[in-house]
């Protein structure tokens, strides 16, 4: 993977990982008995992948930029989901109304509240927990695990230990049906939100000055600092944004599962870690492809052999690591 000598210093897109998504979809095609089922599963898998991407993207970007792996990221997901219950349950009048706009407005309010809360907590978390241990991986893992323990206990103290039911808004329940193909409405929304987040992230990273700084920081943060930019400030912003995205993902995931528990963040974290490892630690593009792969795999295998669904993702991770030991898109300096 060393750069060719005549290569210009621009981002060259490595296309072979992109092909993995159609490959997996096509391999699954003959195994699944009917075409409509396959279409349904594929859309479901892409939707699940998008939701995982929303939650994982912030984490991988934070790692790419500052070499910090936040094991407490799952707590932000859980907090986002619980904030959503606090907003949506009192707004039951809006979510039960038979109007798409009322429903979406309620969801938007919940998402904004969740993102504001998790973003703010992310800022505080960076200041109090992570700042003193930059550059020390072992302590980072320990300290963020400590943060996770405390955050989970605080969630239990504030919202109580019981599972909270969070029904989807009325107009987002049910499915679109085309012939034999069944597509859940909520999954369509998840795909749209996921694409919007990916597009926004892509534009910010590639078309703005801040994005340029972030990308340069991922490549070589010392160099950026020596040019006079405060990379620390950029990083704090990225950390808060990543936490807010975790909150958004938490809301989406909670409405998808329709229940909220204090352990949900930790459950999703396992998928998120697999996604980040597959994509290459620190790579947003790799994270996107990894999320879709994991989402598709989980749905296909969940249909064919439900007992080994998570195992199939571990297998996928091992296979990809055997092919590319650093993940699909290795970040240069790691």
């Amino acid at each position: 993977m060393s750069p060719e000598k005549d290569e210009l210093p621009g981002a060259v897109l490595d296309k072979s990982p992109l092909a993995l998504i159609p490959v997996i979809a096509l391999v699954a095609l003959p195994l699944i008995p009917s075409l409509p089922t396959w279409v349904t599963l594929t859309v479901a898998g892409l939707a699940m992948g998008m939701m995982i991407f929303i939650m994982a993207s912030g984490l991988t970007l934070v790692f790419g930029l500052m070499d910090v792996m936040n094991f407490a990221h799952g707590a932000f997901i859980t907090i986002g989901a619980f904030v959503a219950t606090s907003v949506l349950l009192p707004l039951a009048g809006w979510t039960r109304a038979d109007s798409l706009w009322m429903n979406l407005a309620a969801m938007l309010l919940a998402v904004l509240a969740a993102m504001a809360v998790t973003g703010a907590i992310g800022l505080a978390f960076e200041r109090v927990i992570i700042k003193p241990v930059y550059g020390q991986h072992l302590k980072q893992i320990l300290i963020t695990m400590g943060g996770l323990i405390v955050a989970e206990q605080l969630i239990l103290a504030i919202w109580g230990p019981d599972m909270i039911a969070l029904p989807k808004p009325v107009t987002l329940r049910g499915s679109f049906i085309f012939g034999d193909i069944v597509i859940e409405k909520y999954r369509v929304l998840a795909v749209l939100v996921g694409l919007a987040v990916f597009a926004a992230m892509f534009l910010v990273l590639n078309r703005t000055r801040v994005g340029l700084l972030i990308r340069a920081g991922v490549e070589d943060s010392e160099m950026v600092e020596s040019l006079g930019y405060r990379i620390r400030r950029v990083f704090i912003g990225v950390f808060a944004a990543g936490s807010a995205l975790a909150g958004l993902g938490g809301v989406m995931w909670a409405l998808y599962q329709e229940t909220v528990t204090s352990a949900m963040g930790m459950h999703v974290m396992i998928l998120i870690f697999i996604v980040i490892i597959i994509g290459g630690l620190g790579s947003v593009g790799g994270c996107f492809i990894g999320s879709l792969l994991v989402g598709l795999m989980a749905n296909y295998v969940g249909f064919l052999a439900p007992k080994i669904a998570l195992g199939s993702n571990i297998l996928l991770m091992v296979l990809i690591l055997l092919w590319r030991p650093q993940g699909l898109y290795p970040v240069a300096k790691r």
Binding site: F63, M69, F71, I129, P132, V133, H137, L138, K139, Q140, I141, L142, I143, M145, G146, G147, I149, V150, Q153, L154, L156, A157, I158, P161, M266, M269, I270, F273, I274, I276, I277, L281, K307, L310, G311, I314, M317, V318, L321, P325, R334
Partner: protein, 352 residues
């Protein structure tokens, strides 16, 4: 004698030595000093967790590897006994067979994980072990025909270890000598022997190399030590000791299930014990595990008093609610990592 037994690694602090002797005496005479089922359970759990935490400290404190798969090896040991005793009947032969198979599985699995992922960074290894361990926990609860699923397995043990078996006609020091006491002493002596063996490992030349790798793996490699091999072996030794702890725990509980051996909560408990007790000191495992298990059992009673006393003040009763005891240990954990990374043991040794 003492020197050989402790491998030359003395407590080096009068306070610490007193504390360790107190714990040792308390555990050695637990059935007589604290009669009662609950306190004997606590004592056995302390023995098992001292061994488990010490083996984790070999990884975290001495080698600088963060693994989240330690409960997996603990669980393999426990399930080895449980499955053998369920399938082959409660004989000594089946227990030995179950233990051996469990130890072999652990060794193989730990070497495999090590070879796949120990070449790379700490964080990478931590993430991979987390994924593999959670997969294993789910597997154990899904294969319900084999492992008993979420309910786990309850099984019989050989006659000698059952509570109904009386060994002496008359009670000794007012305590009836039955199969439970025999079980307790099997747990106690095995745990003590394996703890001393681990102490031997970390004070051997091999242990010194591990510490060199922890401090600077690049330099260790430059001197000529293949750090991958040393790390893999350390990982394997730790996994074997964790399985042994699992075997002892299964012998004591006569039950193996996901909640007692495989759950992520136990992994977090182990982390808390290692860090609060003191990373990189085997004695830290003793102090940490003892304090933690006692806190787990008795702190809640204390917090209930505090919670009742704070009734009426907003949020405070929720924070000191008996179920929130982990919150305070979590805060203590964070403070330990910042303020005294060598934990209680480091603090005690530093005072001299």
């Amino acid at each position: 004698m003492t020197r050989r037994l402790l491998s030359g690694d003395y407590p080096r602090s009068r306070m610490l030595a007193t504390l360790l002797l107190l714990i040792l005496a308390g555990l050695a005479f637990a059935p007589f000093a604290f009669p009662g089922t609950r306190s004997l359970d606590v004592a056995a759990k302390v023995c098992v967790f001292i061994l488990l935490v010490a083996s984790y400290d070999l990884l975290l404190g001495y080698t600088g590897i963060v693994s989240f798969a330690h409960t997996m090896f603990f669980g393999i040991g426990a399930y080895g006994i449980a499955i053998a005793a369920t399938r082959l009947g409660p004989t000594w032969g089946s227990l030995v067979l179950g233990s051996l198979v469990a130890l072999a599985c652990s060794a193989l699995l730990s070497l495999l994980i090590g070879m796949l992922s120990l070449r790379v960074k700490t964080i990478f290894f931590a993430m991979i072990t987390l994924a593999v361990a959670s997969f294993f926990a789910i597997l154990a609860s899904q294969l319900s025909g084999f492992t008993g699923g979420e309910d786990g397995l309850t099984y019989k043990l050989p006659q000698l270890l059952l509570p109904g078996t009386k060994l002496l006609e008359a009670p000794l020091f007012g305590v009836e000598i039955n199969g439970r006491i025999v079980s307790y002493y099997i747990v106690f002596f095995t745990a003590a022997a394996l703890f001393l063996a681990l102490l031997r490992v970390v004070n051997s030349p091999f242990g010194r190399v591990l510490q060199a790798i922890r401090e600077n793996d690049f330099r260790a490699e430059a001197i000529g030590y293949r750090s991958v091999i040393y790390r893999s072996v350390a990982n394997c030794v730790a996994a074997l000791a964790a399985s042994a702890a699992g075997i002892l725990y299964a012998l004591w509980l006569r039950y193996a299930g996901p909640d007692t051996t495989l759950s992520f909560d136990i992994m977090i408990d182990i982390l808390l014990m290692v860090v609060i007790g003191g990373m990189g000191t085997m004695y830290g495992a003793v102090v940490g595990a003892t304090l933690f298990v006692i806190a787990q059992t008795y702190l809640q009673d204390l917090m209930k008093l505090a919670s009742d006393a704070a009734a009426g003040i907003p949020l405070l009763p929720d924070l000191v609610h008996p179920d929130r005891w982990l919150l305070w240990l979590g805060i203590l954990f964070i403070l330990s990592v910042y303020r005294f990374p060598a934990g209680i043991v480091g603090k005690l040794r530093g005072r001299q």
